[in-house]
């Protein structure tokens, strides 16, 4: 690439993260400071921090790449990622804050009084946390490889080390400031180049996104294939390509059709009934996973404890919805313009790199283009750092209290090192997984385990510990099974492939059904203090009961 601005930009982001972390370290004194920032974080800071933590590699890089590749059908990813906060607001935010639970296992014990259920929830928190951490580290490795030519392990290990040190030394108060800073950095890093890209598009006389003759290369391009595919050229010849193959195209040459990539009308228009029912099923499954999965992500819930009361938790969530919604307007633009300016990514298969490569490609390699490319790379790094910090804080919190059984600051630091080390090792050994797909599966597991537990626990008196455990095991277990088959199993086709790749549409109803049915069968186990718990969850704090 040879862009001299990229490495300094990434180093600057990393240093600023560490400096703000250190600044926070001087403020952090006691265990309660470390874990919940003493609940003295203002709603605006808190909302920006939640947004910063939430917008991960999948949001920053993955969505634009998916839109470039598949078109309108994957717009449900950004919509669902934002709508997840609405579901959280409607069903969970205020009661969860009032419950006083700091983590999901806390909520289980508080509501149902069962140590065993707490252990089960701990296992799921750690699984979801690691499942979500691995793609962040992988994204970091791929980004550094794409923009700076560094070997893959460098980026992954760099992010893992910075984040582990920051969380272990600063705790959550530091992380709150870091996250809030990173939300604004990420928004800027996509918004500023987007303005330049739109101006460039105007200056180029608004080239059509889907020209009638199919997309064409704007400049002479040499493409090095990175994924096996079948290319169909304009004259009808079909060529199988393997990783490492080099293809040369002249300016104006049409882009060959690539197997597995949506083209023309497929890209522009939603899947229609009849020809592809599996597409419709996958769409609804994705909607269900993202709408309901957000509330079950461990790093999202921890943040709610830093609100002073239930009403503040609601208002914070609404601000988050606004911040996240504003951000998600941008990746679509990158995916669409990528169709015009970086069609070679469709051939190489590296569609996740579209956000990183588009500024340089569209603006023609001048200083402006290179500066914007560096800004985008810095934003991508902010995305890896912030999401991994949030995940690591929550996984380490659970490990220190529930696995190590110690609540001291030293225990938390030890837990952080353990919680950060495992995904780092996994990320080094699993480099072939697709970032967006793994993130989608993490949402599916969360939606089929913690979502029913939280919603029924908050709104239904009849929930019992056995019912909750059975539902989590059935729904979450099925979703985890789907993850394992996707990661380790043989490639599937047809309906089994759809059911395994997008499991939420059957695992979420399964979890709810089992949870309700087993709870009704074990009515006698309903906690005796359920009335008091309900009062505490739903009564406004102003009453001071």
């Amino acid at each position: 690439m040879g862009n001299g601005f990229v490495v300094p930009a990434i180093v600057a982001v990393t240093l600023v993260t560490l400096v703000i972390g250190f600044y926070g370290l001087r403020l952090a004194r006691t265990t309660s400071d470390f874990l919940v920032a003493s609940r003295a974080v203002s709603p605006t800071w808190n909302a920006a921090a939640i947004g910063g933590e939430y917008l991960s590699a999948a949001s920053f890089l993955g969505i634009a790449g998916l839109i470039l590749k598949y078109g309108v059908d994957v717009l449900w990813y950004p919509v669902g990622f934002a709508a997840g906060y609405l579901a959280l607001l409607l069903f969970v935010a205020a009661p969860l804050r009032r419950s006083g639970a700091f983590t999901l296992p806390d909520f289980c014990e508080l509501r149902l009084g069962s140590r065993r259920l707490r252990t089960l929830a701990t296992v799921f928190v750690i699984f979801i946390g690691w499942l979500y951490l691995v793609p962040q580290l992988q994204g970091a490795g791929l980004t550094l490889a794409t923009v700076a030519g560094a070997p893959y392990p460098v980026g992954a290990l760099l992010v893992a080390a910075v984040v582990t040190a920051n969380v272990a030394l600063g705790g959550m108060r530091a992380v709150t400031f870091v996250q809030a800073f990173q939300y604004w950095l990420k928004l800027t890093a996509l918004a500023v180049p987007a303005i330049f890209l739109m101006l460039q598009w105007q200056a180029d006389a608004r080239p059509a996104v889907t020209p009638p003759d199919g997309p064409a290369f704007r400049t002479a391009t040499t493409v090095v294939v990175e994924q096996r595919a079948a290319l169909t050229f304009a004259d009808g010849t079909i060529r199988q390509v393997r990783p490492g193959d080099e293809l040369t195209f002249a300016a104006g040459d049409p882009v060959p059709e690539v197997s597995g990539v949506a083209d023309g009308a497929d890209w522009l228009l939603p899947s229609a009934a009849g020809d592809d029912d599996r597409g419709l099923f996958a769409t609804y499954s994705l909607i269900l996973a993202t709408f309901l999965g957000t509330m079950g992500l461990p790093h999202v819930l921890v943040r709610f404890y830093t609100n002073p009361d239930g009403a503040a938790a609601r208002r914070t969530t609404l601000v988050v919805l606004g911040l996240v919604g504003a951000f998600y307007l941008l990746p679509t633009l990158y995916g669409v313009l990528g169709r015009i300016y970086t069609p070679q990514l469709l051939v190489t298969g590296q569609t996740d790199a579209v956000v990183l490569l588009l500024p340089d490609a569209a603006l023609g390699g001048g200083t402006t283009g290179r500066l914007l490319a560096a800004l985008v790379a810095a934003g991508a790094f902010a995305a890896f750092l912030s999401t991994s910090s949030g995940l690591l804080t929550s996984v380490a919190g659970v490990v220190s209290t529930d696995v190590l059984g110690r609540g001291s600051v030293r225990g938390f630091r030890l837990a952080t090192v353990i919680a950060g080390g495992v995904p780092a090792v996994l990320a080094l050994n699993l480099s072939g997984l697709d970032v967006s797909q793994v993130v989608g599966l993490a949402f599916a597991v969360a939606a089929s385990s913690f979502c029913p537990l939280l919603v029924l626990g908050i709104w239904w008196r009849g929930l019992t510990d056995l019912g909750a455990a059975a539902g989590v095991l059935a729904g979450g277990g099925a979703a985890i099974g789907a993850v394992l088959v996707t990661v380790l199993g043989p490639p599937l086709s047809g309906w089994p492939a759809t059911l395994i790749a997008q499991p939420a549409a059957w695992t979420v109803p399964l979890a709810f059904t089992v949870m309700v049915a087993v709870s009704m069968a074990t009515r006698h186990r309903m906690p005796a203090d359920v009335g008091a718990t309900m009062l505490r969850l739903h009564a406004p704090e102003a009453l001071r009961l």
Binding site: D33, L75, A83, A101, L110, A272, G325, M534, R544
Partner: protein
């Protein structure tokens, strides 16, 4: 997680070594309790009915607004699937599905959220008024 542990004073000069983290809030019955509050706190039949009423009001509000989203957003894939011509309609040169999903859906979600916050706070205010109403 026991209720008798104290929340540590923030930033005590010399924090004593702690063995457990207080993860749940301590909830103590407050001194200033009038009769309705006592009924709530002691789970009498009246207090229980009050809480059930609040929970029901908040849940039905959340479900009604979910239904709005379910129809407004969840209906779209189905609509596009059974009426493919809708997808070909262009507004300002952009196909309708792109505009609806990529732009309009976000303000829509925020509007629903804003309505929920207002209405949920009103439900809580009604509940507070009911509890704090002077007894006759």
């Amino acid at each position: 997680m026991t209720a008798d542990e104290q929340v540590p004073a923030p930033r005590a000069p010399q924090p004593r070594p702690r063995t457990r983290i207080v993860l749940a809030e301590v909830s103590r019955p407050h001194d200033r309790t009038d009769r309705t509050r006592a009924e709530l706190a002691q789970q009498t039949r009246v207090g229980d009915a009050l809480v059930r009423g609040l929970v029901r009001a908040q849940l039905s509000l959340a479900l009604r607004l979910s239904l709005v989203v379910l129809i407004g957003l969840g209906g779209l894939p189905w609509l596009f699937a059974i009426a493919p011509t809708v997808g070909r309609v262009t507004v300002l040169g952009v196909n309708l599905p792109w505009l609806l999903l990529g732009v309009v859906s976000f303000p829509f979600l925020i509007a629903v959220g804003w309505a929920y916050v207002r209405l949920a706070e009103r439900n809580e205010q009604d509940f507070t008024d009911l509890v704090q109403r002077p007894e006759h």
